[in-house]
């Protein structure tokens, strides 16, 4: 009797774990399917070429938001990648003693700060000082968000480079800086690059830190010191609006954003998997 109960429990519980897995994976496919079905229906050429149309007027697109997102991500990369990369080089190659572990702790802490709080930070540093919303403020917020992950990825991949490579270069008379620049970094560059792409894809979808830094704009935003539209913010504003044609635009924008983010993710992860195969 007891034996039978144990066997039944075994089968039931193990099948339940399978059900959990199937459930989660099917959530992914429901999300993809629903978004792609809706998004592809409402996506037009105008979406990429036209400015947003006024309420009630058919047509219109989000060309300004696409360019705006591009500019914001460009600024974010300018801030996030150098600081993250060089900081990571320090942790992996120069760091000894207490200071590096403090840096690591701070990095993890900064990584855990909610994105909306980073938005308040950029608001205080840029918007409150310049007295108006700007592309610059939004780019700063996204850049600050990029630093922790860029730093830890760089460190991780540099650590994966075998010590013998460093010793070999140094034995040939290369200085430490030269060893790092010409031997260690090239050996890890694939992994680091993929990590940075993943980092960029992550901030590309961030909305919260842009709400009160780059704000949004229904027109083109020339230069860097004016409010600008961005795709994620547009999706938010259009989705919570009461207009049906705005909802359709939100679906199209969601489709474009998700397609880009997932594409970058899949490519970067495949490159990463291959890089770690080659290293291992």
């Amino acid at each position: 009797m007891l034996q039978r109960r144990r066997k039944i429990v075994n089968v039931v519980m193990l099948s339940l774990t399978g059900v959990c897995t199937v459930f989660i994976v099917s959530v992914l496919f429901v999300i993809l399917g629903y978004l792609f079905w809706n998004g592809a229906r409402y996506l037009t050429v105008n979406f990429f070429t036209k400015l947003p149309a006024p309420v009630g007027e058919a047509g219109g697109g989000m060309a300004n938001a696409i360019v705006g997102s591009g500019k914001l991500l460009f600024l974010a990369t300018l801030i996030g990648v150098p600081f993250g990369f060089l900081g990571g080089v320090y942790l992996a190659e120069f760091g000894t003693g207490m200071f590096p572990s403090m840096v690591r702790y701070m990095t993890d802490l900064l990584n855990g700060v909610p994105s909306i709080v980073i938005g308040i930070f950029a608001y205080g540093v840029v918007v409150a000082k310049m007295h108006h919303f700007s592309t610059l403020a939004g780019g700063l917020a996204l850049g600050v968000m990029m630093v922790p992950i860029a730093l830890r990825t760089t460190e991780e991949f540099l650590r994966g480079v075998p010590q013998s490579l460093r010793e070999g270069a140094m034995a040939l008379g290369a200085s430490k800086a030269r060893t790092i620049a010409t031997v260690v970094i090239p050996a890890a560059i694939k992994g680091i690059f993929s990590g940075m792409m993943l980092d960029l894809a992550r901030v590309a979808g961030e909305t919260a830190p842009l709400l009160f830094t780059s704000l949004g704009n229904r027109f083109w935003s020339p230069g860097w010191d004016k409010p600008t539209a961005a795709l994620p913010v547009m999706i938010y504003q259009y989705a919570v609006s009461p207009y049906d044609d705005w909802h359709r635009q939100a679906w199209a924008a969601g489709f474009v954003l998700l397609a880009l983010v997932l594409l970058v993710n899949v490519i970067a992860r495949l490159v990463l998997a291959r890089a770690s195969h080659a290293a291992g």
Binding site: F23, F94, F121, S175, F212
Partner: protein, 321 residues
């Protein structure tokens, strides 16, 4: 590499190689400054929050986090409705996602073939890459209607007698926000838990199986307890994410600044009230109160993250019970 022998004599002449040797202190200084910038940014962040919230802190003092009145018209601000919403949605999200996530992690580490497990984990991690505003979009147009038409009526017929499930369902509500959150945090629980489960030594499983335990008994009574602290760590990390999540929650929670009595009513969280009202805040006191909310959120997530790290740190020294 072949140029190495020529480097030495030339370096004496103060050429390129010499300057590269001087590159060492330069490279060190450059990288250490970049690493130290993390401190600068974090300190500046805390300073900004502290400075920005000064008005509100001076006027309300500790009353701010104990008062449940949020009224921009009379300039009275209290954080209770938002702290309540934040904590309740995050905990409910954990109640939904932990069993499912742990179940899936067990399946992926104990049952599935490695190739299948890797593929499924890859797909699940893609779920973590979906931007939160996309979750919000699907929340508004797909999840809320489904909850309204099928899930909530079914739940009400079973556990409707509980006060937290009483009253009419508004669509946008604490419950909807929790469901969206649970989907967003489940990938983190699965990928971290799977890692720690895979790290449990095979002998542990073999020993239990050889004593006559079934596969499930082995997993539940030997493997899972062995990996307990790592799993707790993953849950705390997921909790920290749920507490700070902004967009998806803002879009489905209803944004009503009062303490709801039922999960089916709309509410608000700290992150979503900041997102919603910051650009509309007209007075300095209003902005200051919102920034103080940001300070509270910052403090909460720091504590939870610290706890998670502590749990993971102590895993090394003590294993299991």
């Amino acid at each position: 590499m072949s140029a190495a022998p020529t480097v030495l004599p030339r370096s004496r002449a103060g050429s390129l190689a010499d300057r590269l040797r001087l590159g060492d202190p330069f490279a060190y200084t450059l990288t250490v400054v970049c690493a130290a910038s993390i401190f600068l940014v974090t300190c500046l962040l805390v300073y900004q929050l502290w400075l920005g919230s000064a008005l509100s802190r001076h006027k309300f003092g500790w009353e701010f986090i104990f008062s449940s009145t949020w009224d921009p018209v009379t300039e009275t601000y209290g954080a209770v409705p938002f702290m309540f919403g934040t904590v309740v949605t995050a905990i409910l999200a954990l109640l939904i996602s932990v069993p499912i996530g742990l179940g899936a992690a067990i399946f992926l580490s104990e049952m599935a073939l490695p190739a299948i497990s890797d593929t499924l984990t890859f797909l699940i991690e893609l779920l973590a890459a979906v931007p939160s505003v996309i979750y919000g979009l699907l929340g508004i147009f797909l999840l809320v209607p489904v909850l309204e038409s099928t899930v909530v009526p079914a739940l009400k017929s079973v556990i409707g007698f509980l006060p937290i499930f009483s009253g009419p369902f508004y669509g946008v509500s604490l419950f909807s926000a929790s469901v969206v959150l649970s989907i967003m945090i489940v990938p983190f629980i699965i990928s971290v838990s799977r890692e720690v489960l895979l790290a449990v030594p095979v002998d542990q499983r073999e020993a239990a199986l050889s004593l006559g335990a079934t596969k499930w008994e082995t997993t539940w009574q030997v493997v899972v307890p062995y990996a307990k602290r790592g799993i707790y760590g993953s849950i705390f990390l997921a909790l920290a994410r749920a507490l700070g999540e902004t967009m998806a929650v803002t879009m489905v929670i209803g944004n009503t600044p009062h303490v709801p009595t039922s999960l089916l009513q709309p509410g608000d969280t700290i992150a979503s009230v900041i997102a919603n009202q910051f650009t509309e805040a007209t007075s300095d006191m209003y902005i200051s109160a919102l920034i103080e909310l940001g300070l509270v959120l910052f403090a909460i997530t720091i504590i939870i993250n610290g706890l998670a790290r502590l749990l993971i740190l102590t895993t090394g020294s003590k294993t299991g019970k």
